[in-house]
């Protein structure tokens, strides 16, 4: 399987969110399959408590070391990030449908989009799509409806074709929030 990331990997602003997502992914791969919102609440509580302890410990700030101050900053950033994402999700909810295009980049004589399907996966790589998923073999258009859950979102678009290798494409949060189409340059690697 080929993994494709459409997000900007060097975005510093997204770092705390990516840390939370990474933790969710690690817990999931370790067999701890709990909803994302629980992990976020847990992380929020731990970070808030840690931030409070560090804040108390560092009073007045000038007397303590830089390491503690950095720890305090990191915890605060994590708390702010989680709260920010919740607020954003309340103010600007994710759509319940993901649509876009697979834009063919191959010169194969047989159209690889014939019989191709897409589905949505959450961060634990579980399928969350409910309806749709067929890909228009001429236009490459697809639309998938999924079950929305607070604190969670579709993370991956799984492309399955009868002739090409399966591809997992990471869905950028920005495009999901903007409700803009997920257009992917699709390079079919033929199954041998």
């Amino acid at each position: 399987m080929k993994d494709i990331d459409l997000e900007n990997p060097f975005s510093v602003i997204d770092l705390p969110r990516k840390m939370v997502e990474a933790l969710e992914s690690v817990l999931s791969s370790a067999g701890i399959d709990v909803p994302a919102i629980f992990i976020q609440i847990l992380l929020l509580v731990i970070s808030a408590v840690l931030a409070f302890v560090l804040f108390k410990k560092n009073q007045p700030f000038c007397r303590k070391g830089i390491v503690s101050l950095l720890g305090l900053t990191a915890c605060c950033l994590l708390v702010v990030s989680i709260l920010f994402n919740w607020v954003m999700e309340l103010v600007q909810p994710f759509p319940d449908k993901v649509s876009g295009h697979l834009i063919r980049q191959d010169r194969l004589p047989d159209n690889p989009l014939v019989g191709t399907r897409v589905s949505l996966l959450d961060i634990r790589k579980n399928e969350i799509s409910l309806e749709g998923g067929r890909v228009d073999s001429d236009e490459g258009y697809f639309g998938v409806y999924y079950q929305k859950r607070f604190g969670d979102r579709p993370y991956y678009l799984l492309v399955t074709s009868p002739v090409c290798k399966q591809q997992r494409i990471k869905i950028p949060l920005s495009r999901l929030r903007a409700r803009s189409p997920i257009d992917v340059d699709y390079v079919c690697e033929v199954n041998r």
Binding site: D96, K97, P109, D110, V114, G132, V135, D136, D138
Partner: protein, 348 residues
């Protein structure tokens, strides 16, 4: 008494809810045609998916189908996927947006793949890298006489390809000046590529057509060449067969003949192309026109594009005199077809 009242109320609630829960249905109607000829296709298996509901149908002799989806609660996704399958044709999936309660007068087209499908996996693997992405490539097959020890074999196909390309480009530029409107498709670059020797033999028309379709070629050409002595000078004699690949209604893939006689002293100069037959330019123009006619089938600016083809063909026809009956006849045949298509679109 209270229990009886509860049962009564429950029954009343069920009766109130029942009309809303009663099944609704969605009807999808349309027609399936052959993409190149426009002829309705019967016996096409049409499957439909509306959310998690599915239905299927088979087209009648007029290419018509109807699918009825019966559902309890309507799907969230307001889209219907239609999957078309027919032996000898490429499978197709179309996603239709559901903006009204019904989808009517849908028109789908399917492309015949029998030609390409007739090729074996070895052929496909050998030719796979040669497939033209834009259908604007003339493929040259090795000429008999290549590889021998005589003077004719010393003239490489590359040299011929360069000369043909230069000749046709110059001719199209001239046409663009004289035509009142000119198809942009003819202004865009085209290419000429050489195919390996073991590809096929020219006499096998069916196989050649299959290869052409597989390669998404504009045309295929090949033949024989020899050096002959005429009037005290050595001349290169080339007999080429030219096969136009794109199809449209009334124009299936067909063979054309081109004879070239070029003085040998001209071959290795920049004027090689000037000695080539005008049929090269004419037939490539015909091939592009047929391709363009086919491409206009689903185009929103169909009328304008057809008028451009007509103008271009007329400009080419004007280049010929009374002695060029064969050339004029081949243009006239295509012009008639363009006129007929224009009449269909309501333009005079």
């Amino acid at each position: 008494m209270t229990r009886v009242l509860r049962v009564f109320l429950a029954l009343a609630a069920i009766l109130l809810i029942a009309p809303n829960a009663r099944g609704a249905s969605l009807v999808v109607r349309g027609v399936v045609v052959n993409e190149t000829t426009g002829v309705p296709l019967g016996g096409v298996s049409v499957a439909g998916e509306y959310g998690n509901y599915s239905g299927s149908s088979v087209t009648n002799s007029e290419g018509q189908f109807e699918i009825r989806f019966s559902y309890g609660s309507p799907p969230k996704l307001r889209e219907v996927a239609i999957i078309l399958k027919k032996s000898g044709y490429g499978e197709k999936t179309k996603i239709m947006q559901l903006e009204q309660a019904e989808l009517r007068d849908l028109r789908f087209s399917m492309t015949q793949t029998l030609g390409a499908a007739a090729l074996g996996p070895e052929d496909k693997s050998r030719l796979g890298n040669e497939v033209s992405s834009d259908g604007r490539t003339l493929f040259l097959l090795p000429y008999s006489g290549d590889g021998g020890p005589d003077a004719a074999s010393a003239i490489s196909l590359n040299r011929l390809a360069e000369a043909v390309h230069r000749f046709v480009t110059a001719d199209f530029q001239e046409l663009a000046k004289n035509a009142s409107s000119f198809p942009p498709a003819l202004k865009a670059p085209f290419s000429i590529r050489l195919l390996p020797k073991e590809t096929t033999v020219l006499s096998d028309a069916e196989r050649l057509t299959s290869i052409g379709r597989y390669l998404n070629a504009l045309a295929l050409a090949g033949g024989s060449k020899a050096v002959v002595r005429q009037g005290g000078t050595d001349k290169l004699l080339m007999e080429s067969k030219f096969l136009i690949i794109p199809q449209t209604a009334g124009f299936d893939a067909y063979y054309l003949q081109i004879d070239d006689i070029v003085p040998m002293r001209q071959i290795n100069t920049l004027k090689f192309h000037e000695g080539l037959s005008d049929y090269w330019a004419l037939y490539i123009l015909l091939a592009f026109s047929i391709k363009e006619m086919r491409d206009t089938e689903t185009s929103p600016d169909r009328r304008m594009r057809l008028e451009q083809i007509r103008s271009c063909l007329k400009a080419k026809k004007a280049q010929y005199g009374p002695a060029d009956k064969r050339k004029v006849a081949s243009i006239d045949t295509l012009l008639k077809s363009v006129e007929a298509k224009l009449r269909q679109t309501g333009v005079r």
